[in-house]
Amino acid sequence: MMYEIRDLRLSFPDMAHKPFLGAPPQIEILKGLSFDIPKGEVLGIVGGSGSGKSTLGRAMLRLLEPSSGTIRFDGIDITHRSEQQLRPLRKRFQMIFQDPMSSLNPRRQVRGLIAGPLRLHGMDNVTERVASALDRVGLPQHFATRYPHELSGGQRQRVGIARALALEPDFILADEIVSGLDVSSQAQVLNLLGQLVNDLGMTLAFISHDLSVVRRLCTQVLVLHHGEIVEHAETDALFNTPRAAYTQELLASIPLPDPYQEWA
């Protein structure tokens, strides 16, 4: 198993209702989630805004510390590991963000953006690895000396993917990575990601509010609603016979190319 998650709970302090003295009340965002991600699987995590899908992603990468429950990554319990203890593991799980502009440091060239983390983790042949990462995501080599503001949205997102890939991780979490792109760039980035996952045998979790994107890329789908799992099924099963009422609602909200056609 890549991830084994058991009864995962996460709360934030509610500063809006903090009493003048004393601790603020807690708001529970994740309410006891349990699921597994087998190796090599592509898991779609869907849900409306406020459903807790991004919080779940951040907890899985331990950018947030869970309040209770356990997260095991490749058999290792990372639930309460300190930042120091996590550092050697960080190379193995990578993340790609929604907004490709804000997720690249505007002061670094593409080359530095990709090479920095490689050097940090003491990897060899950094120059070759940067070149091959650019190659894999379909960017020409001379892009290495460009700054993020000189790239288009789709190209930036490719750089984001190249940064994650170059570290040769076991797992990548993609958080809404195509929602900021226009439709043709979306298709290109999705095709690229699907192909890379196949070629490299990585495990991928794909957070999205867009079910048509999830259907195309993912093998399994996890539906979140108000911090709880309402359905977890194989993609085909979910789209053909959605069981939970909330899933049916989500499916009904997808705009179809032909308004008279139904998902069948």
């Binding site: 950018l63 190379k91 997720s103 983790h121």
Partner: protein
């Protein structure tokens, strides 16, 4: 080409600014009460003596005539002769400028080091008691003006626990022969680090007094910008790549957060130089500011004019340097 034109525009604006300053200072110090001639003569001088001296210094002519003569001389590089010290103003002023520059730059370095450190610590320990401590410290440092800090430092480290010198730029027992007026820089270049240490320890108190309020402003603004930058995706992403928090703050967030602080330092540095006038007096530091106060007390009109114009020139040059630094530090501006 665009850069060159911008530079030329700026130089022209500088010239106009300096002319404006010259007009204001020239007429202002002539309409306020006080007569330089009266300060020179002993009590009981005759009317004739006064008239003769006034003619000698040109004070018998009309204000406009005086201004035309003076500005003509200034354009030729002659700032006149000091009435109280009887030496050329340009010589006096340029002789004192290095002392004030060294003091101001030293204060600036202290302010950047202290302010930067506070901002870094406040960001590293954000949302904790340590950040609150940083806020309280900077708030206090900011709400007390530099000359009061000077008095506090004199009391603490000059009187109660006398570890630092509180008087003068060089100890009278210092045997080192300086060939320029940039004492610290010269000693540094001649590799006499013992002399550098001596000079730094003597100007540390006045420099610190000047630096404390500026350090506080730097700390507050930089911490604010750093904390905003720490929320950005690429900073979070750097953390997921496994970079340490210190690295993330200093290498990812700082370069993108520093620009507003840089502008602020540019503006505040001119205020800091203005502050040297009182601080140099309090610490008997032989700089321009100290000379300015003597010049005002003695109604030494040519000297006051020279000092004010030099200060004005200094401020405009600093603003120019800050603007150019801005272009150098921001890759977006370079490529646009």
């Amino acid at each position: 080409m665009i850069f060159l034109r911008a530079l030329l525009t700026r130089l022209l604006t500088m010239a106009i600014t300096l002319f404006g300053v010259a007009v204001v200072v020239f007429f202002l110090i002539r309409v306020v009460p006080g007569n330089p001639i009266a300060m020179m003569l002993p009590p009981g001088a005759t009317e004739e003596d006064i008239a003769r001296l006034q003619a000698l210094y040109g004070f018998d002519k009309s204000l406009l005539q005086q201004f035309l003569i003076w500005s003509g001389d200034v354009l030729r590089g002659d700032f006149g002769t000091s009435i109280s010290l009887r030496q050329p103003v340009s010589e006096l002023v340029l002789g004192r400028l290095p002392a004030t520059l060294e003091l101001s730059l030293f204060a600036l370095l202290i302010a950047i080091a202290l302010g930067g450190l506070m901002a870094f610590l406040g960001t590293l320990y954000r949302h904790s008691a340590a950040e609150a401590a940083v806020d309280v410290t900077t708030g206090t440092a900011l709400s007390v003006p530099d000359f009061l800090w000077a008095l506090v430092l004199i009391l603490l480290f000059g009187v109660l626990w006398p570890v630092f010198s509180i008087s003068g730029r060089v100890s009278p027992s210092q045997a080192f022969e300086f060939t320029t007026d940039f004492y610290i820089i010269e000693a540094f270049l001649r590799l006499r680090f013992d002399v550098v240490a001596h000079l730094l320890s003597r100007s540390f108190m006045p420099a610190l007094a000047l630096a404390i309020p500026l350090a506080a402003i730097i700390a507050q603004l930089l911490k604010q910008s750093l904390k905003e930058t720490m929320h950005l995706d690429y900073v979070t992403l750097a953390r997921t790549k496994g970079y340490s928090e210190t690295w993330v703050i200093l290498r990812e967030a700082l370069p993108n957060a520093v620009l507003p602080t840089l502008t602020l330092i540019g503006v505040q540095f001119t205020f800091l130089i203005g502050g040297t006038v009182i601080i140099e007096r309090l610490f008997s530091y032989e700089g321009l500011g100290n000379m300015a106060i003597d010049a005002v007390i003695n109604r030494d009109l040519p000297l006051i004019q020279g000092i004010v114009i030099l200060f004005a020139a200094l401020f405009t040059v600093i603003n120019l340097v800050v603007d150019m630094l801005y272009v150098v530090l921001n890759p977006k501006l370079r490529h646009a």
